[in-house]
Structures are given as C-alpha cells and as structure tokens.
C-alpha cells in the first residue's frame, strides 16, 4: 500500500506497464523454479509459493489498474467533448468581441459627427439672421444688381445692373483682397463715383487709392477703376455700356 501511495502521482500508463513487466518477470521466475525443481527431482522450494503469491497480488493490481484505465478512457472522452465546447465558446466570444469593436467604431464616428453637427448648430445660433432680413437683402440685390437695368432707367439714374465698387468692397471678395471698406456706407451721391463720371478734382480720396494697391498707380481717369474694368475701358465707352444696359428686353430679372 505504501508503494501504491508513492506511485499515486505516476501516470496510469506507467503503472500498468510496470505491473505488466512485474507479471512477466514473476511468471518466468515461477516457471523456471518449477522446471528446475522438476528436472532435479527436488521438492519445490518454499520460494515458489512466495513468488506465486506475489504473482497473484500483482495480477489483481494489474486488473484493477486496467479498470481504472478504462474509466480514465471514459473521462478522456468527456474531456474531449468539453474541449470542443470550450473551443466553440472561444470562437463565440471572439465573434462577439469583433462585433463590439465594430459597434464601438460606429458609435465613435456617430458621436464625432453629432459633435460636429452641434458645433455648426451653435455657430448658426450665434450668427442668427432673421429671414426677413435675408429676404430684404435678396430683394435689394435683385433690384439693383440684376443683369439688366430697370425698365424705366434713364441716364443719371444711380441704379446699376451690376455691383458698384462700394458693394464689391463690402462683399466677401473685397474682404479677401483686404480692401478697406471703412468710411463707406454704400450711399455715395448718385453712385457716380462708381461709374467713373466725376471729374478727377471731385473724386474723393480714399485710403484704398494709395500706392500699396495691387494695381499700383493708375492714370488719373482710371482712379476709380481698381483694375476691375477690362483694358481699354474709358469714359467714352462707359456711355455706350450704360446705353446698352438700358435694353429692357434682354432680361426679365429686374424687379422695379
């Protein structure tokens, strides 16, 4: 029993093989003893009984171990089933993890987009403009800056079918070009300045007419052009342009 206790942590296979080897040795020894005693016509020595007893004991142990081994075989089958189950669960968990990661990514994107939207909503709230004002402005630009002059336009009428210089300056393009717009209220007398009709002596001198302008110093009669007019543009053909833009049949977008 002591021997069994010390061998309890050995594998069943080792114990079986060792028991089998013992059985082989013991049975051979027994047969040899008997053969020797028979050949020498001697009575069998007392040792053979001991060997036989040992053989019987080891044989019983061997059978017990075989039974244990069969039980272990069944347990092994059960373990294999469990291992398969563990594998399946592992793949399920991995699948779930993958889906959670995807969901996290989608949610993160959604949160980012929502934040952006909130930002733009906030921005829109801060720059709140009433619709009435927008309509008023739309009306104004469609009335005065249409592609065609109003029907009742006559020379001297301040209204123009295109944006005036002042309006260009106060617009986005004017700001991008860093054109100063201070001192202007968009209501210069008759907009004549924009049309370049005033004599040079009457032309008011604004800061934007200084030499740091991109167009540089221009001849006196071009003082108000700011490079917006095509080359060859002068006072003579400006009259033609005004006369041409009175053509009321060319467009229907005038509102006055």
């Amino acid at each position: 029993r002591l021997a069994m206790a010390t061998t309890a942590d050995k594998s069943t296979k080792e114990r079986l093989l060792s028991a089998l080897a013992d059985l082989e040795v013991l049975s051979r020894e027994l047969v040899e003893m008997l053969a020797l005693s028979r050949s020498q016509k001697l009575p069998p020595p007392g040792e053979d009984v001991q060997v036989l007893e040992l053989l019987v004991q080891r044989d019983a142990e061997f059978q017990e171990l075989m039974e244990v081994a069969q039980q272990q075989g069944k347990v092994h089958e059960e373990m294999q089933v469990l291992e398969k189950e563990v594998e399946k669960r592992d793949s399920d968990i991995q699948q779930l993890q993958k889906q959670l990661k995807e969901a996290e990514h989608i949610l993160a994107t959604a949160v980012y987009q929502a934040k952006e939207k909130l930002k733009s909503i906030d921005k829109a709230r801060k720059g709140n403009i009433s619709s009435e004002e927008i309509i008023k402005y739309a009306h104004r630009i469609s009335a005065s800056n249409a592609v065609c002059a109003p029907l009742n336009w006559v020379p001297g009428d301040p209204r123009r079918p295109y944006p005036t210089d002042l309006e260009m300056r106060s617009g986005l393009l004017g700001h991008m070009a860093n054109l100063p717009s201070n001192g202007m209220n968009g209501h210069l007398p008759g907009d004549a300045l924009a049309a370049g009709r005033l004599p040079d002596v009457l032309t008011p001198h604004y800061p934007w007419q200084s030499s740091d302008m991109s167009v540089g110093i221009l001849p006196p009669h071009h003082g108000n052009d700011f490079g917006l007019d095509p080359p060859g543009h002068n006072k003579e053909n400006e009259d033609d342009v005004e006369a041409m833009s009175t053509d009321s049949s060319s467009s229907s977008s005038d509102s006055d």
Binding site: A8, S11, K13, M66, M79
Partner: protein, 99 residues
C-alpha cells in the same frame, strides 16, 4: 475462454494472466509437450497487453490529475457560458441578433 458474451465481466478478467500461468504449470506437471505452446501464448498475451496499454486514451496522467483537468475544463465552459449569457442579456437595443 468462457464468458466471452458477458462484456463487462469479461473485460476485467480478460487482462488476468493467471489462467495462462495455471495452464503452463499443469502442462509441466503432466510433462506435456504443450508447455512451449502455452509459454508462447503467455508471451503473446503480454505483448498484446502492452500494445493495448500504449493505445489506451486518457491514461497519460494519474486519475487525480485527470480529475483536476476535467474540473478545470468544466469550470472554463461554465465561465465562458456565463460570460456569453451576460452579454446576451445586455442587449438592450433592438439590434438584429447574430446567430
């Protein structure tokens, strides 16, 4: 070779070498010539048993160690099942479930 039909009984006693040893002793007592044949039978039986042992599954460890491994596996399955169950019950949105 009696009791071949009774499988569980046969299984346990089949591995005993005593009947063969007994046959050998009997032959020796009778001074029979069959003794060599009986000895060969014992030898082949032992060899057969050896092969069988090396092919038996699940005996690479002792029973206590095997029981421990089994318990570990059961615990693993239980834990993983619990984990999956937890996440399944966490599904609080109407998301189409993936099988």
């Amino acid at each position: 070779m009696a009791g071949v039909q009774q499988k569980p009984e046969k299984d346990v006693h089949e591995y005993s070498l005593l009947p063969l040893v007994h046959d050998i002793i009997k032959c020796m007592e009778k001074d029979s010539q069959d003794v060599n044949q009986e000895l060969a039978k014992l030898k082949s039986k032992i060899q057969e048993a050896r092969e069988q042992i090396s092919n038996m599954p699940g005996i690479e460890s002792s029973p206590p160690v095997q029981q421990q491994q089994l318990a570990t596996l059961r615990e693993q399955v239980r834990t993983k099942n619990q984990l999956l169950q937890k996440y399944k019950s966490l599904c609080m949105f109407d998301v189409p479930k993936v099988s």
